[in-house]
């Protein structure tokens, strides 16, 4: 995972997709959210990169951390067996990329703009 830190944090409401990948070294992006689409709730500030801190490196420059919200249906697909709900998790910027529409909506609408 690389990439320079963003100059300005993503705005609330920005559609994002969590990167896939399985570093197996220390990281704070849970597997169940990798590849899933969500929406930025807010930026939580900048923190040293935990993937470097874990190995006694300074983790600089700090990275922006986002609270990202996901629909349970997007996260679990057919495994979902409860009424709809939402999940938030705090994800560092280098694990996020711009997202199109969630899969279901894209299928329905065939459009390319971000979701509301």
């Amino acid at each position: 995972m690389s990439g320079a830190p963003s100059p300005a944090p993503l705005a609330a409401g920005t559609a994002v997709q969590v990167r896939t990948g399985a570093p197996l070294t220390h990281c704070r992006t849970p597997q169940y959210l990798r590849g899933k689409r969500g929406v930025v709730l807010r930026a939580l500030g900048r923190y040293p990169n935990p993937e470097e801190l874990a190995y006694h490196r300074p983790g600089m420059p700090p990275l922006t951390l986002y609270q990202v919200e996901f629909d349970a249906a997007e996260v679990w697909g057919e495994r979902l067996h409860e009424a709809p709900y939402r999940i938030t998790a705090d994800i560092f910027e280098h694990w996020l990329e711009p997202a199109g529409l969630p899969a279901a909506a894209a299928h329905d609408m065939g459009a390319s703009h971000g979701r509301a």
Partner: protein, 105 residues
Amino acid sequence: MDRNVHDMGGDPAGPIDQGEHARTVFDQRVDAMLRLLAHPQKGYFTVDAMRRSIESLDPQAYHGLAYYERWVRAVRQLAIERGLVSQAALEQRMAAIAARRGARP
């Protein structure tokens, strides 16, 4: 396997044991050692290093050990990594303590 043992969100699992467990003196001391060593002003190591060490336990150890037993193994590993103690000194001291305890009436 595309994830480590600690990363368990969404795994099938049984009922939650809601029993309250008071901390033992062992728990308190391990907790205190970690807090002191990982204090930002001391900086011997970070909580992320601690997590990394715990996460690298094999699944049997991770699930078989109590919470603070995982922690004490991680403190041990990081104290050695950071040169605070040597593995040999630690083993020697553990043997000496075991002998002391064995010798007690």
